[in-house]
Amino acid sequence: MIVIWLISALAADNPVLDSLGEEMERNAAELSLPQAPPLYLLRYQLAQLESISMVASMGGVVREEDLMTNAMGVEVRVGSPEYDNTGFGGWQNGFMRTSLPLVLTPEAVQATAWRLTDRAYKQAVEQYGRKDAQFTAPEDYPGDYQMLPAVQVEIAAAPSDGSGLSKLALSLSQTLSDGPHLERSEVHVGHETGTLWTIDTTGTRIGRPVSETTMRALAQLRTQDGQLITHHVLWSVPTPAELPDAVTMHDQVRQMHADLNALNEAANFDTEYVGPVLFTQDAAVDLFRWLLVSQVEGTPAEVPFESWFGDLGGYKDPVRIGRRVLPPGWQVVDDPQSQPDHVSTYPWDSEGTPAQSVTLVADGIVKDLLMSRVPRKGMDGTNGHARSWLGARAEGRVTQLQVEPAKHLSEKALHKQALKTANAYDRDWYLKIDRLQEPAVRQVGQGFSIFSESEETPLPQPLAVIRVWADGREEVLRGAAFANVERFVLRDIIGAGEQRETTWMAPMQWGAGTTNGFPTWTSAPDVLIGEMEVVPVPGDPDDAPLVPPPSK
């Protein structure tokens, strides 16, 4: 249901956008400072959205905002595409964003753009100076930006009605208040519908629909021995109409609650375990989310800015084409249009480049990377995978990731192989994990801390581990965590099973929340890892409540 017009047919219909265009041209033509590098690209993004943001708990509203969200971002590049103010650490870098008034007028948009561009331009010039002072580009420096011809498209999407979301969230949250007490239970709603406009001085003018409804029911349970166990159900769909029916959603929430209550009664994991681990269901997808994704997103890290309070930038793991990341025979593809009905899909990325299917891993070896128009050595630029929000550099990100093994084993065969591997460790059982805890959920209500929960491993804590015996018996245990996990563990996959798929929220440049982020679809098989370390993480009894909960 996507309609595309040439923008020339629509230009007269949007005086706000026209006024922004006028201000862009004025700024591009007139902004200059003595001895400053020339402004070679000015880009504006304008978001005109109707949005709902809500938190419900136990049948009541904690917070609810139902409003127009207007905002704009600016990107100022000075110098030349070969070497400009970007790609260098720090935050005063020429990318800025600000809110816009509730009622947009051409005059208000122009005035805001005037103020914002002025600040972003000055920052860009100063950042260029900082970069120039600290960084000498090597001869094979790939440049900072890939200039491409203008794109002019508008993709219209039908507005979606979010008026029933509040009632639904209240009802779901009421469901969580039935039954045994949780420490915290909430339903978060994020709903946006509208248009994100991008215009720049190359002549690009893109109108892309924003249509996303994300709901997350979350629950935190405090066990009697003080462990915090968190669980959630996430729905992220293009419009509310595409949510599951209310009965299904309530059933999913009830199941989550039941799972948590069962865990409350479960025994603690009390073994220092080294041996095979079978990742199934959501945990299978999560394994690739946490260990593979960062190895295929190709936008280079910013050159570190050596500031007086330490280096800024350069935090990303090095990404290498030609490195083995998976066993032989495995393939990984990201195609933003492979699931055309999924909320993450797009025909043009956030820089206006047509989306492409990219084979990232072939025969287990990295062959290609997800790119925006920021080049890297050996790759000139974009392959249509730029994802960004206002006021941030567009970076190559995953969108719809398909991880395929060389061979799918049956559940029985995987079990057999896991047992055989466990035997080599003198065990007659192995561990299975079907869900990891979501950090964005675990952080809810924990307050600000300068010390985050210890994350010595890139894999979050499992919801539970399941001890699987030779005869198929399963014992659910809580209070376990991974130890010493590195990305190379994916090369130690010794078997793959049924293909799973799930939706998760990839963090934006400034982090993730319960409903914000880039919706991302991933399909991956159950996998058996040859060796992992899993250790007990007992709770602190001092964290357990002394007083029994109130009666219902």
């Binding site: 208000a108 005037w114 007083v547 109130p550």
Partner: protein, 555 residues
Amino acid sequence: MINILLYLSLAHAASPEDVVVAELTRVNDILQDQEEPPYYVAATVIDSTEINISARDGTLNESGETGRRTLDVDMRIGDTTLDNTHPLRGFSALDEDSRSPLYLAQDSDAALRHALWRELDARYRDAAERIVVVRANQNVKVAEIQRGQDFEQVKASVDRVQTPELDVDVQAWESTLVAISQALSDSPAIHIHEIALSAIREEKTFVDTDGSRLVHGRTHARVSLQASATAEDGDVFSVFEAIDVHLARSLPEADTLHQWALDAIRRMEDLHEAPRGEPYSGPVILEGQATGVFFHEVLGHRVEGHRQKREDEGQTFAKQVGYPILPPFISVVDDPTVSNLAGHDLNGFYAYDDEGSPAAPAQLVEDGIFRGFMMGRSPLDDFAHTNGHGRRSTGNLPTSRMGNTLITSSKTVTRAALRDQLLAEVRQQKLEYGYIVEDIEGGFTLTGRTMPNAFNVRATASWRVFADGRPDELVRGIDLVGTPLVAFGNLLAAGDDPKVFNGTCGAESGWVPVSAVAPSVLFSKLEFQLKEKGQERPPLLDKPAQDGAADGGDL
């Protein structure tokens, strides 16, 4: 006995009060079986509704209503002599007891009950840890200078006061604010502005184990105008106007607000032309609002009762009771019971403080003699009782804070006479000029011992008054600074023109609404220091021409 009284109240229909009473009682009963049970527990639920409307750049910026419910629990373990809230001396990671505000679902008894259970339990466990640390701290540190117990147990207060509903005509206000914003947008002298209406209704439910049960609240509305610009030298200068009232219907008419806009434009143009001041020491008149802020910072924060007990506080006036600290014609009282004065609603008005005590006047200075402190339920040896000044914003522990600080003079002169006295002082000190501080945006003070015990009153408009009769000259870029005892020693005279300052004060117990009412006063000597100056160039391009506005020219 307390528990029985609390339970009796449950005959009423369900209300936040009933839920709080029942759950607080249930949890407290259970905690009494602990080895170290709480000796005092209080819970405060605040239900608030807020309407915010604002305009900028000639259009509606924001218009919406939000509601929220918050919960605060105060838990005391030990006894009134020494409890878990006692300040720790030396560095300690447990030193502060502030926490993030706790938001909970509105209109849900189950959610309130659940939040009370969790919070009471969590606060008890925190308190049980802290009392151990407090005792260890007492053990290893030198003997403390004892200035009173940690807590005063008081007679319970029971009262239920109806809080008026919000009465904002949203559509009318939207139109008014947009029209005014359009006028401000047209001025090239203003780079950014906002005109806003904020109206809030708060209802507090306070319950404690002493038997207090209070339901009371406030409504408040503020219309404000803020405009600023950057000068060629980087100085960011601004104009701020605000009117605070208890009920939105008392806010000024649109004509008054339009006049604000015109005045703001004129003042911004004047400020742009005004030179930056220079460091200065000499005679100064503080006009009414500036005087109020001056007394708030210089005297008020130093006579908050709890500060007299902390070893890290400067305690400027701790031993001054009965001694003169101001000229004999000056008296100061902090009286939160005053709702309106000289036709102005006072922001610092309240019926009960955040510790459940009835508000009462605190006589601070009488005819120049220092008389006492503002007190919450943290007593001093010589001031053993609260006078209803224990205040906080949600998420913080209450401490003694100001409400309405009223400065009066038994000897006044006219404005003209005060100016003559200023000029006489200027001439006597053989200076070229003195200063009149006409407008301020606030101030701050440092009351501890590590940093200089100084104050800063942030002036936005000060006038040079020349001894040779030249016209007064507006200057920008200077702030009033000094130390309290020297400053008070230089107060010479007061005018007959009391003015009201309404604002919000931030300190360790959070942000609370306050007022100060004061006449203009003349000091023989005060000091100005240079205000920080922005280093950003003004916008490189002219402000875009607004529809119907003149072209953006050079400022």
